[in-house]
Structure formats: C-alpha cells, structure tokens
Subunit: 296 residues, 2 copies
C-alpha cells in the first residue's frame, strides 16, 4: 500500500496480468472444448430462415416487433423516440438535429441479448470530482474488481478521450460542455452494448452531468461524487496543475477560478476518508450488486 | 426468405429471441453455479496489495511497465504516442490538438485482459457502400452470427449515431467528414474494449475511410466494400431517397450528385450477386476466423 496525500493507493495488479500467457480467471466466461463454429451457426440461421420465423427486417419494414420494456426504454433514448413502450414502427425517415433522411435501423440482436451473453447489465458509472480527488484511481480499482469477477467494464477517461474523439476541443466553456456531451453519448453506446462503462471526468457543471443522465434510461446513469475538499486535492497536486493554476499559468481551472458544482442527488458519495480506492470501489460494487447490474 | 431488388433478405430471428425469458446459447459464456462474489474479489485484491506485487500506479508514476506488443500498439494509437513498443513512461503532461494539461492514464486491466475475458479480439469491421447496397443487412446478419457463437459485437450505424453523438452534424462536406471521423474514433474505443465493432455507413470518400484506418493498429480495421452498382441500389430505393435525389429534393446525394470513391485496397469485397446477407456475412466471418479475431 502506498500512501499519497492522505489517501492510500493500492498496488492493483498481480505481475502475471502483464504477461501474454496470462489466462483469465475461470469465474465469468468459460472455454468450451467443442466450440460451435460459425459454419454451423450459419447453417442454424439458414434453418431459421427456412422455417419462416418472425423477421426483424422484411422489405425494410418491421412487423410490429414487441420487446421488453427495458430494451424498449433504452432504444427509445437511443432512437430518439422511434421506439415506444410496445410495438415499433420503424422504417420512418426523420429529421434529427441538423440531419435529415435519418432512418432508425433495428437489429435482431439487442441489448437484452448482449446482457444475457455477458451476464451483466450495461450502465454508466459517472465519476465526478475535482482534479486530484481520486477519480481515476477509483475507476481503475473498480475496473479491476469487475474484471476479477469476469465482468466487462471499460473506462472512458476525460483526459484519454481528448487524445482522440475530442481532440478538437479545448477548455473554454463551450468546449468543456461539448467534451462532456460527447463522452456521455459514447458512454450510452457502451452501456447499450452491454458494457459497464466507467466515465471518469471532472465534469464540474451540474447541467452537463444532468444532460448525460437524461439521455439514459432511468437508473442506468450512476453518478459517483468524489467528495474531497479542494485543499486536500491541492495538497496532493499529483499533476502539478493546481500550482500552475495558482500561478495564473492555467486559466479557468476548476476549483481555483472556475466553479465545481457539487451533485445534489447523486447515487453514491465517496468521502475523502472513505478508505483506499479499492474500498471506495467496493461501495460502488455494492450498489451495482444491489441494483442487479451484475447479472443479466 | 424475402427477395427484394435482386437480393434476398433473410428472416434472421427466431421468435424466442424477443422474449425476456430467452437464455443465450451456452456456447460462449457459461453461468457458474458458485460465482465468486465481489467481496471475495476485493479480499483477493487486498491480498495482492499486501504482498507488494507490481504496482500499475504508484504516486502517479509507472515503474517501466512492459506489455505485449499487441496491447502496446493499440495503446500507442489510443494514447497518442505516450506508449511505446516496450516500456512506458506515463505521467507526462502533453498538448494534444486543442487540449493542454492532458495526462494519459493507464489502467491495469487492458485490451489483452478484456480479450481473454471475451475470447475474441476487438476490431473494427467497416462496411462501406452506396445507400441501398445492403450494408445494414450484412451488419445485422454478421451481428446475429457472432451472437450465436457467443461473441460480443456492436453495430455503429451511420444513421443511428446521428441520433446522438453526431446530432449536431448535417450533410455538408465538412459535417460528413466529421461524422465519419467521430464514428471512427468511437469504433476504435469499442475495439479497444474488446468488442467486434461493426461500423455501417456510406463513407463515400477514400480519405475519410483511410483516416479511420490510420488510427487503428495494423490489421484491426477491416474494410468491407458492398460492390453493388448504382442502378441496382436505385432500383431498390428502400428509403425512397434516390427518387428524392433525382427530383433535386436532396442535394449532394452519394451516387447522384456526389461521388462514391470505390476502395482500392479493402480487405473484403461483397458483390451484388454474392448471395443473401447471411452468405455475405459468412465471408466476413471466414476472414475473422482466418485472422484469429474469434479467439483471444
């Protein structure tokens, strides 16, 4: 255990994890000695076709497909309202934002099927807090625990996404909002894919976080607030950013000359004295278990 | 089997797939009767900490972590060059695009671990072709076959993403380029997460597709060209868009008054007379199997 700035950073990884020969623990997914090949799968699908089962897509129209509410709720938020609580009329052209001629395509393998495959429910765990509050450490610890359980998680880190998708964005107000909006949209796609998506970013404004919550079905956006006082974060200053901000070399730095709006109704609060990142991650795990996200 | 405009659209889905009670085929992931709970996992991690194993993150510096080339190649493209072929020096602040103060965060569960969990390699299958060339049908068939094999795939459909992430984009040249760029970046994140990501979009310009290829490690971008003549697509005109374009009601429509640039060196070409979407998807499956993507 390594103590830094008042919190303990755990040594997460057993060395074997970094060797290519590593075999994952047989607790989540099994290797079957006689896997069904894709050829027999195609034969199976051909059989399904021949026996005339219900078609998902026939002549680009859909035959009043009814899915579970859960699936439909998610699709409704993804599909901008084309999907309703029961029955779907697809194949409708629509105008969305700046786009016209957009058709919502439905596919026969949906969120429910992916959940069954992964034995988990995709969701977004949104970790918010000041720079230096320990977001990334908790995200990593959570990722590690989930992996050990055989669950598929993926971290969207605010900084990392700026290397790719959000490379064109800076730190002025509208760019920060756009950065968060895009990460929210990507997180939603991951959740829809069945992945437990851990978004770790300062996201200082309530309205931006709430906007990300709003695009997900109720309950699937889990806001985790790193409740660490500014003075603690500043004392850590692992990246040296607070020093630069105090010296006026970084403008608009959250907590110094830009506000951080504390969440009002978040799902989980992790206090400064809440233990190691592993222990904090355990609180999130407890929530996930209680809400049924760790099973299909 | 339903014949439309010269190709056959299969009836993909057995009815049971749409019932909430559906159990996935036991060919990919198994349900273990005595699952290891997250509590014992946390205890295991604590033990790892106490025994002083190699730390992934210690005081925000990394102890010369060496990963397999495969992982490192992917990280290098994701991490904008922070990760090199062997050994990593992290904890470096950088300037990326319009962003400063960006630090690349590394986590101990990486692509290799997720691959082991899923028993597959994440990649991007990029299906390009004219409107009406059957991209979505092949994407769906592929998704279905992969699901039946217990593999995790996710479709990023050009139209669907315009309902969310790319809602602010229209169809003028720079918006189309940005649309494709963002989908490419998201597809890369999915591939890094271990998912077989199927991107299905017209993507008419070679330079835009090549840019998406360039951000992925060699071999992980699999370009699939739907080689269907314009007249066949126009005869189908399932969305009625060609009619509108011919009437001048849609401007800049690919194939009518905007060019489609045929891929020069794509991995797979699916011809118009290549059979049903299932049969075409089988060709892609064959490629995936041959290249080792269907195993960890």
């Amino acid at each position: 255990m390594v103590a830094i700035g008042g919190i303990s950073l755990p040594r997460f990884v057993a060395p074997s994890l970094h060797r290519q020969s590593f075999s994952p623990p047989a607790i989540g997914f099994a290797r079957f000695p006689n896997r069904i090949s894709y050829r027999s799968t195609v034969a199976l699908l051909d059989e399904v076709e021949k026996t005339g089962s219900r078609a998902a897509i026939v002549n680009r129209k859909v035959d009043g497909l009814v899915k579970s509410d859960c699936e439909t709720d998610f699709d409704a938020t993804l599909g901008n309202g084309h999907a309703r609580n029961s029955g779907k009329i697809l194949g409708v052209l629509s105008t969305v934002g700046n786009s016209t001629n957009i058709k919502w395509h439905e596919c026969s393998v949906g969120k429910i099927e992916r959940q069954s495959l992964l034995e988990q429910k995709g969701c977004v765990i949104w970790i918010t807090g000041l720079s230096g509050s320990g977001k990334s450490c908790v995200a990593c610890a959570l990722n590690q625990i989930l992996y050990k359980m055989g669950k598929l998680a993926y971290i969207l880190d605010g900084d990392n996404v700026r290397h790719g998708l959000n490379r064109d964005l800076g730190f002025k107000a509208e760019d920060r909002a756009e950065n968060i909006k895009r990460i929210g949209e990507v997180a939603k796609l991951f959740a829809h894919a069945g992945v437990i998506c851990i978004a770790s970013l300062i996201s200082p404004y309530r309205r931006d976080r709430d906007a990300c919550r709003a695009i997900l079905p109720d309950g699937y956006f889990i806001e985790v607030f790193m409740d660490v006082p500014l003075e603690v974060c500043e004392a850590r200053d692992a990246k040296g950013l607070y020093k630069l901000a105090r010296a006026g070399k970084i403008k608009g730095f959250t907590g110094i000359d830009d506000p951080y709006e504390v969440p009002l109704n978040c799902e989980i609060v992790l206090k400064n004295n809440g233990g190691s990142p592993c222990e904090m991650a355990e609180k999130v795990m407890s929530y996930l278990e209680q809400k049924g996200f760790l099973q299909a």
